[in-house]
């Protein structure tokens, strides 16, 4: 007889080598992603891919602080905007190329993060959330009002950009999406690698213990302040990098687009929808949310209804939909998000894995 106790001990520790199939699938997926712009050259599709990459980077970054450490910051626009503004201002006003500016952005974002952390980490639970929102709002209002420095509500449009060369390739050519596609893809892979490393290290254990129970973690020898700040620094640095990437890609920033509460909420939603505290949750969240919000914004739903013949385009309902659906895309988006949160509290990935596990378990017994 094989007692459960015995089999549990003799089982090797869980870090077993990934099976060959996983490895092959990963290699295939990566090749596909790198070859993608060669296969598909529609600028719109590439634009969507770049937006998805951006969302993945933001989601993974937030996940370190929110998902693994349990500190639900709803003020990550502060770090996104800091990266965006620093890089943009250096590029526009001082002709500093963005791949240098991004590091200055990271440095400034870390300083901002430590300042915000020193206030917010005194608080727990909902009080922490509120403080993180307030701190980000302070940064937004500052950017809005220090006009001589940030150009206030008018924002900054990248115009006087010097010829930017990376090796032999001229990349001031903003009409091509290729440099951004590959930069975005590499940043995605880096943030996923970073998350994997955190999860499989002592740091990951400490962060998750803090998430599960701060007092228990504290009593087991974990320095709460130190570890929360480490998580915040990692999270802010990667969020700031995403901000720099966004600023250079879009070529225009203003306080509303990069520093608003809306931005902070979007970042959190990527993780909530995909699955908090997992490596691939933010990936799933980004793949779902970006196309969804894009479809709603461009009135694709009304078009779809017309095409399917469900609603006549010229009927009174059709005209109403055409006029209003695009404007209410935020509302519809909100309702969909609430529905997902209600029915899949562990996010889409958690839902799928529960579904699959449930099936296999039934299949085995």
């Amino acid at each position: 007889m094989n007692s459960p106790a015995k089999s549990a001990i003799t089982k090797p520790p869980k870090s077993k080598a990934p099976p060959v199939t996983y490895l092959l699938a990963t290699v295939a997926l990566l090749s596909l992603l790198f070859a993608f712009p060669q296969i598909v050259d529609s600028p719109y599709t590439l634009h969507m891919m770049i937006l998805i990459f951006l969302s993945i980077i933001l989601g993974e970054s937030w996940n370190i602080l929110g998902g693994y450490t349990g500190q639900y910051s709803v003020g990550h626009a502060a770090y996104f905007g800091t990266g965006a503004y620093t890089t943009m201002m250096l590029m526009q006003y001082a002709q500093v190329p963005p791949w240098l500016g991004v590091w200055v952005g990271v440095a400034v974002a870390i300083i901002v993060a430590l300042a915000i952390g020193s206030i917010c980490f005194r608080l727990r639970g909902p009080y922490f959330v509120l403080a993180s929102i307030a701190a980000a709002e302070i940064i937004r209002l500052t950017a809005l009002n220090v006009k001589s420095f940030t150009n206030g509500a008018e924002g900054i449009l990248a115009t006087d950009i010097p010829p930017l060369k990376l090796g032999a390739i001229l990349i001031t050519d903003f009409s091509s999406k290729l440099p951004f596609y590959y930069t975005g893809l590499i940043l995605v892979l880096l943030t996923i690698l970073m998350t994997w490393l955190v999860q499989h290290s002592k740091l990951g254990y400490c962060l998750q213990a803090i998430r599960e129970d701060q007092d228990a973690a504290h009593s087991l020898g974990i320095n709460l302040t130190l570890h929360k700040n480490i998580a915040l620094i990692i999270s802010a640095a990667f969020t700031s990098t995403a901000g720099s990437f966004y600023a250079v890609y879009i070529g225009f920033i203003d306080p509303t687009s990069v520093l608003s509460l809306d931005m902070s909420v979007q970042i959190v939603l990527i993780c909530i929808i995909g699955g908090i505290g997992t490596i691939f949750g933010p990936v799933a969240g980004a793949i779902i949310l970006v196309p969804l919000s894009e479809a709603l914004r461009s009135n694709m739903i009304a078009q779809g209804l017309f095409k399917a013949g469900l609603v006549g385009e010229e009927s009174s309902i059709g005209i109403f939909l055409k006029d209003n659906l695009a404007h209410s895309h935020v509302l519809i988006y909100g309702i969909l998000v609430v529905v997902v949160i209600l029915f899949m509290p562990e996010g889409v990935l958690g839902f799928i894995s529960k579904f699959v596990h449930g099936k296999t378990r039934r299949g085995v017994s």
Partner: protein
């Protein structure tokens, strides 16, 4: 050798005196029972000793070092670990991971931490639940998980807050055996318990708290005979 010494420790919550002027000391390798009616201030005293509440007055010495005002994680590193009256498992993490968090207090290697954790899970006899989420354990095993977790921090002094609370007779007996085993390995333990039979049996000395004050201190036999203690807490049945 004295391992822990309390000098006139008081803790006030606003006007409420949860601990008043408490002094006693612990001998290395012994078990000290801490008893008293509900609300007597036992858990509060644990919180003061382990750094969760700064004492309002007084001094706490651990291994001759003044630890008053140190943070909980610093005190844990010095070799003192506590369990929680209301258990605090890291629910979404596995049983093994819970104990590894304790072990990581002494090592940076996940591999070594995993070995230490497996060892301690065997000590408390829940090694067959290694990969289960800690949230899925029944109360008896949760209590033992708490003990495994603090043993993994390699402590010299353990503070156990009602680790038998809510358990049935056989589960309690297992915990008693565990405490005695731990004692035989030379560790010092301070045990809060309402089960008088158990506490009389395992303690070398007993401290009695009542309304935040130390009412009495002595061997189990002395405490059982102490008229004040009988009046305030034990009642006639244990005399």
């Amino acid at each position: 050798m004295t391992i822990l010494e309390l000098k006139n420790v008081s803790k006030f919550f606003g006007g409420l005196a949860a601990n008043t002027d408490i002094s006693f000391s612990l001998e290395e390798g012994k078990i000290i029972g801490l008893i008293g009616p509900n609300g007597a201030g036992k858990t509060t005293l644990f919180n003061c000793i382990t750094g969760f509440y700064p004492p309002s007055q007084g001094q706490i010495l651990f291994k001759k070092q003044n630890i008053t005002g140190l943070q909980p994680h610093q005190i844990c590193r010095l070799g003192m670990a506590r369990t929680w009256q209301k258990v605090r498992p890291l629910v979404k993490m596995s049983v093994l991971d819970n104990v590894m968090v304790g072990a990581l207090c002494r090592t940076n290697s996940l591999k070594i931490a995993r070995e230490i954790a497996m060892e301690q899970l065997k000590v408390v006899h829940i090694e067959h639940k290694t990969n289960m989420p800690a949230g899925g354990l029944p109360i008896g095993e949760r209590k033992r998980l708490e003990i495994a977790r603090i043993l993994a921090t390699n402590p010299e002094l353990l503070l156990l807050d009602e680790v038998m609370g809510g358990l049935n007779t056989s589960e309690s007996e297992e915990i008693i055996q565990l405490i005695l085993e731990t004692k035989s390995r030379g560790l010092t333990q301070m045990v809060i318990e309402h089960d008088m039979k158990a506490i009389m049996r395992i303690s070398d000395r007993i401290v009695v708290l009542n309304s935040g004050e130390k009412l009495a201190e002595g061997t189990p036999a002395e405490i059982a005979d102490n008229q004040e203690v009988i009046d305030a807490y034990l009642g006639e049945s244990h005399a």
